[in-house]
């Protein structure tokens, strides 16, 4: 349209009426996933913690606890690494809520809400975008682990399978933080509440040590702790001893959380002023 007068160009875009056929929920969600990727491209700093945290956790915990708990750090690493993968990714899911809460306070959500699209697609799309963070974090844990001497019995296939299970469960847990992000007023309060959930779930677990030496009441909690169940499944997959029941147990909590909280999130999102 070069060469036209400004008014004529304006008229030309305004005259192009007619709406393309409505697109489905999946397509909407993919478009918002694309938005999440673009945001990572333009604000790469947001990946900083997704890169640094796994390196720090893996190196620190291996050398702090390794000698005392398993004789050598290298031996401890075989036990610890699946746990650190889970801990890193579970911590990362918290950012879903904080990012959403910040995002919601901006005018752009008014536009999204006034569009003829699937209501929840902005949120689910952002959660899909988080897969990149989770994959990056867990891949870094594995690479650092291998450098330090981690040798999974199940090889590359096991690592990939572990990462897929981790991503699926992280998506499920993500609904907790999405709901908090929608329900609370400020990113700061989302963070505070998120830690209240995450601290007991990640530390009162089998991430760092086997639960057999814990007192009975704590062991009872660890046995039903969804984070611990996920760690058990990952240990199984990476040591090539996983059973379907282990994997099934790891998936119960994320599935339940999704079934309960996705509708809650939808209601909260619709009510949000």
């Amino acid at each position: 349209m070069n060469g036209l007068q400004p008014d004529a160009r304006l008229h030309a875009v305004l005259a192009a009426r007619g709406r393309p056929p409505r697109v489905g929920a999946l397509s909407n969600t993919m478009a918002f996933g694309w938005r999440a990727l673009l945001k990572i491209k333009h604000v790469p700093e947001q990946l900083f913690d997704a890169i640094i945290t796994p390196v720090m956790f893996t190196v620190l915990f291996t050398y702090i606890f390794g000698g005392a708990l398993a004789g050598t750090p290298r031996q401890y690493l075989q036990f610890l690494l699946p746990g650190i993968m889970v801990q890193t990714v579970v911590f990362a899911t918290m950012y879903t809520g904080i990012t959403l809460n910040t995002d919601l306070s901006k005018g752009i959500y008014d536009r999204f809400r006034s569009l003829p699209i699937w209501n929840l697609s902005p949120i689910v799309g952002a959660m899909f975008g988080d897969f990149l963070r989770y994959t990056l974090s867990s891949a870094i844990v594995v690479v650092v682990g291998i450098v330090l001497g981690f040798r999974p019995a199940s090889g590359l296939f096991g690592i990939l399978a572990a990462m897929v299970l981790l991503n699926v469960c992280a998506f499920g847990f993500g609904w907790v933080f999405t709901t908090l992000g929608l329900a609370l007023r400020t990113p700061g309060s989302v963070m505070t509440f998120s830690w209240l959930f995450l601290m007991p779930l990640t530390f009162a677990s089998n991430v760092f040590v086997d639960s057999s030496t814990m007192p009975g009441w704590l062991r009872a909690f660890v046995e039903v702790n969804p984070v611990a169940l996920l760690v058990t499944a990952l240990r199984g997959i990476l040591s090539d001893t996983a059973s379907w029941s282990q994997i099934g147990q790891a998936l119960i909590a994320p599935a339940l959380v999704t079934a309960v909280l996705a509708p809650v999130a939808l209601v909260l999102y619709k009510r949000k002023k």
Binding site: H11, R19, P20, V23, N28, A31, S114, L115
Partner: protein
């Protein structure tokens, strides 16, 4: 009924936030294919009204038909035909101008090459081609506003809500936005625009609703609103400010209304209902040795209308509100 006469018909729309009645019974009738101005100071309920009509929040009471659709029951169908440019830039600041438009094109069903083509056409029409690959946060106020409006036109809506489209813009950007609004209406879109600028409503809107405290306190064309205040205002500029007191007395005697002393020490004005008597009274001034530098007899400005309706000027109201906060 695919082309109803009225794009918007609302009756008694109410929205409360806690104990605050943000909107307290708004009735509007917006003729299709026109610009309708909703005029009022900050906090009058303009934005809440727009957000209800654009399906963002549900009204607590009242009903409305927008483009023939029931606002509450047919929100989904309605969203396919309306667009909203909110008061605060509703673009993603981290994304570039082109990416913002491409995202909205994808969401609304454009595919493949058409996504980028539509984005680029809009960028060009809104004079943003040079800034296509810049992040929106680096845009100037005027550019951001244009991108915001372009984003509402990825699919050209039948009804566009513009919430204070020129607040904070410099005069040049404001003129550009006005040009866009006129072009839109020419091409058949109905525009509902809120503003706190009286000249903006005067300039663009075929009809105007004046809103204060969540209700419509006056409605009509700009000329009707002005006429409701009186036939017009006589402005007189004197050669010598020292004569103003005497001139005021004389004109008040002849016309039976109070003279208003303006900020300019040589200027005064009176609301007049009878132009012939005003002309006679004016002729008395030189006879009483009060030289007149100039005078005008015109319709009242919307500012004066607002003053007459609410007892305060729009600007004063702003200040009072700020002080109260």
């Amino acid at each position: 009924m695919s082309h109803p006469e009225f794009a918007i018909e609302s009756e008694g729309l109410v929205k409360h936030f806690g104990k605050t009645k943000a909107v307290n019974g708004v009735d509007l009738r917006v003729r299709a294919g026109t610009v309708y101005g909703v005029l009022g100071p900050n906090g009058a309920g303009k934005t809440t009204t727009v957000r209800m009509l654009a399906t963002l929040i549900a009204p607590d009471a009242g009903r409305a038909t927008v483009l023939g659709h029931d606002l509450v029951r047919e929100g989904d169908a309605l969203r396919r035909r309306i667009s909203l440019t909110g008061q605060y830039a509703s673009v993603d600041e981290d994304l570039t101008g082109r990416e913002n438009l491409m995202l909205l094109a994808k969401l609304q069903g454009f595919r493949g090459i058409d996504v980028k083509r539509r984005a680029d056409d809009l960028l060009e029409a809104f004079d943003l081609t040079d800034a296509a690959t810049k992040q929106a946060k680096d845009y100037s106020g005027g550019m951001r506003r244009r991108l915001d409006i372009a984003a509402s036109l990825v699919v050209v809506p039948d009804l566009l809500f513009l919430d204070e489209p020129t607040t904070g813009l410099d005069p040049r950007s404001r003129n550009q936005v006005w040009g866009i609004v006129r072009a839109l209406v020419n091409d058949g879109t109905t525009v509902l625009l809120t503003t706190q600028y009286l000249d903006e409503a005067d300039e663009l809107a075929a009809r105007i609703a004046v809103i204060d405290h969540g209700t419509v306190i006056a409605e009509g064309t700009s000329a009707e609103l002005k006429a409701s205040v009186g036939s017009g205002t006589l402005h007189v500029n004197l050669r010598d400010p020292a004569h103003r007191e005497r001139a005021g007395q004389l004109l008040t005697e002849r016309l039976g209304v109070v003279a208003h002393f303006e900020t300019d020490p040589a200027a005064l004005s009176l609301q007049v209902s009878d132009t012939a008597r005003a002309a006679e009274a004016l002729a008395e001034l030189p006879r009483a040795n009060i030289p007149v530098a100039g005078f005008s007899l015109g319709q009242p400005s919307l500012d004066e209308v607002f003053f007459a309706l609410t007892g305060q000027t729009a600007e004063n109201k702003e200040e009072n509100k700020e002080r109260a906060q």
